[in-house]
């Protein structure tokens, strides 16, 4: 069953005389228990899409069903079952961590006793117990992000939206955050995560939707996205005087899609690296070529983004 089903979502923003098309007809379906990454540059429309799906913003056109409820009418029913951690997090800086999570729990309808119990449990789980009674102002970026997650999880949502959760975190905090997200997901929570980090989408998500200029350009599993692309890249380090011979040899092989010379390397684009490597080694052996190095690179999501949008995500 789909936990998110969106059709033709559109949203325009007017500021002064300029009109910005934030979303131009988004269709999206997310399976229950899935973890999907919305990958795109800043300004692509990711946050707008998230705010519509979390009932915070009314779309200009289109329909969506979240946890089986239409977003426009069943808002309260949706809000009980979803969690949302915005880019800024939303913790009150002057309040303590515990106060922040407690408030969230109480507004989700937990009784005072239930809330107290649940909040301690979460603070222990996210390893915030020792700083729980300090004001949030004093928290590090990583601690703050974990607190944001705790707030988003306090009512045990079945669907959690995370908007750019790893922005500004150091690598360790990031890895830690990923672990938290994975364990939530293992616990049965469906997750939607926006990111402009390729490795994040790659590491966490079982589906990735590339979003650019308010449209979803392509959606697939990370592996599927990479597979439909250029294939794997094999680089062969070969003695210069044998380069031409090797080139001719590999150009005639069916498994080689593309071939080029890079310095003293032969760069082969192949369908599937795993099966190509033994064949390559066999050929090198049969023709008495002296192979010095061999590397296999899989295309990154950056290559995928470049392929579909014509721009690198880093430049976008």
């Amino acid at each position: 069953m789909a936990i998110i089903e969106a059709h033709g979502l559109k949203k325009q923003f007017k500021s002064g005389k300029t009109v910005v098309d934030a979303l131009c007809g988004i269709n999206l379906s997310v399976a229950e228990g899935g973890i999907i990454g919305l990958l795109g540059p800043n300004g692509a429309g990711k946050t707008t899409l998230l705010r519509i799906l979390t009932t915070l913003l009314q779309p200009d056109a289109g329909t969506a069903q979240i946890v089986g409820q239409p977003i426009d009418t069943g808002s309260a029913a949706i809000r009980r079952r979803i969690g949302y951690v915005s880019q800024q997090g939303g913790a009150e800086a002057a309040a303590t961590g515990r106060e922040n999570v407690l408030l969230q729990a109480r507004l989700h309808g937990l009784s005072a006793a239930e809330a107290k119990q649940r909040v301690s449990e979460l603070l222990v789980g996210f390893e915030l117990e020792s700083i729980a009674d300090r004001v949030v102002q004093t928290y590090s970026g990583g601690q703050r992000r974990r607190l944001d997650l705790a707030m988003g999880m306090v009512h045990r949502p079945v669907l959690l939206f995370l908007d750019e959760p790893a922005v500004g975190l150091d690598p360790q905090s990031r890895a830690r955050l990923w672990d938290e997200v994975r364990s939530l997901h293992r616990g049965g929570t469906s997750v939607v995560i926006t990111t402009h980090y390729l490795d994040e989408a790659d590491a966490l998500c079982d589906r990735v939707a590339i979003i650019d200029h308010g449209q979803i350009i392509v959606e697939d599993s990370p592996a599927g996205l990479k597979r439909t692309l250029a294939g794997d890249v094999v680089r062969l380090g070969i003695r210069v005087d044998e380069l031409e011979q090797a080139r001719t040899l590999f150009t005639n092989q069916a498994f080689v899609r593309d071939i080029s010379c890079e310095d003293e390397h032969l760069r082969l684009v192949v369908e599937q690296g795993e099966t190509a490597l033994p064949q390559i080694l066999q050929l090198v052996n049969d023709h008495g070529l002296s192979l010095q190095t061999i590397t296999l690179d899989r295309p990154s999501l950056d290559d995928v983004f470049l392929h579909y949008t014509g721009r690198s995500l880093r430049d976008a």
């Binding site: 923003f13 705010r51 979390t54 009932t55 915070l56 913003l57 309260a76 809000r79 009980r80 979803i82 969690g83 949302y84 915005s86 880019q87 800024q88 997090g89 939303g90 913790a91 009150e92 800086a93 002057a94 309040a95 106060e99 407690l102 408030l103 969230q104 109480r106 507004l107 989700h108 309808g109 707030m151 009512h155």
Partner: protein, 253 residues
């Protein structure tokens, strides 16, 4: 019932956080207290043609200072709301099933409690300066103080949610504050004003609040100014609250 519960939850939370910093209460009090200490003594020697001569000057002056607390404390609350808007705090509250009205009322409630505490301190100081106490009058005056506080904080929240900019909210509040205060007769009674100024003052809701507050402080409970003051202040407070809640519901993008 649900709205009431959520209002209490948000109000108590915000109050606990606000009171952790004692400056919250003191800053708003500084200006009225300074007026009380350094201006009120001058009133004793005013010519006897004004109403100051009829009763003790402090009984005329204190209610004005009480009203002054409301805009000083609450007209700038919107700045904090813009900060919360930017920090995602409002989004995080809005994504819960909590009523929008409760979120606004709870936050406003914090300001009202602070206002109440400030008012009590102010009246205590006035009492030490010779204020003649009419208990019923003071009780009703505090109800009026809360209503005018609600008016100010709702306006400020509506500015904040419409303008979404700390500086803009601060500017508009500053621009409004002085004429609002001077044209309300809260420092000197408007009896002293020339005709054109009286006409202008008639358009200032705070003038009605001050008039009612004054009648309550001098024990003239039959004065029609009390009813007028309550009607104008409460009517506008409800409108402002509606405006703020409406802005809160729709102004997000």
């Amino acid at each position: 019932m649900k709205v009431l519960r959520e209002t209490m939850i948000i109000g108590l939370h915000s109050l606990r956080v606000a009171l952790r910093n004692p400056l919250t209460i003191i800053v708003g009090l500084l200006q009225p207290i300074t007026w009380m200490l350094l201006f009120a003594p001058l009133l004793k020697n005013l010519p006897t043609t004004t109403s100051f001569s009829a009763t003790t000057a402090i009984n005329i002056f204190t209610p004005g200072m009480l009203v002054m607390l409301a805009p000083i404390t609450s007209l700038f609350s919107g700045i904090g709301l813009v900060t919360e808007l930017r920090g995602g705090v409002l989004d995080r509250l809005r994504v819960t099933p909590a009523s929008r009205l409760a979120i606004i009322l709870g936050k406003a409630g914090r300001d009202l409690v602070v206002l109440l505490l400030q008012g009590l301190i102010l009246v205590l100081i006035a009492w030490m300066m010779g204020l003649q106490i009419y208990p019923l009058g003071i009780l009703v005056a505090f109800v009026l103080l809360l209503i005018v506080g609600l008016l100010m904080v709702s306006c400020s929240y509506a500015f904040a949610l419409t303008l979404r900019d700390e500086n803009a909210v601060a500017s508009i509040s500053n621009v409004l504050l002085l004429p609002l205060l001077l044209l309300s007769g809260l420092i000197l009674p408007l009896e002293l004003a020339p005709g054109w100024m009286k006409t202008l003052a008639a358009l200032n809701p705070l003038a009605y609040t001050v008039a009612a507050m004054r009648a309550l402080f001098v024990g003239e409970f039959n004065d029609v100014a009390i009813i007028q003051g309550f009607a104008v202040t409460a009517g506008l407070a409800l409108l402002a609250l509606f405006w703020a809640t409406r802005s809160f519901r729709r102004s997000f993008a």
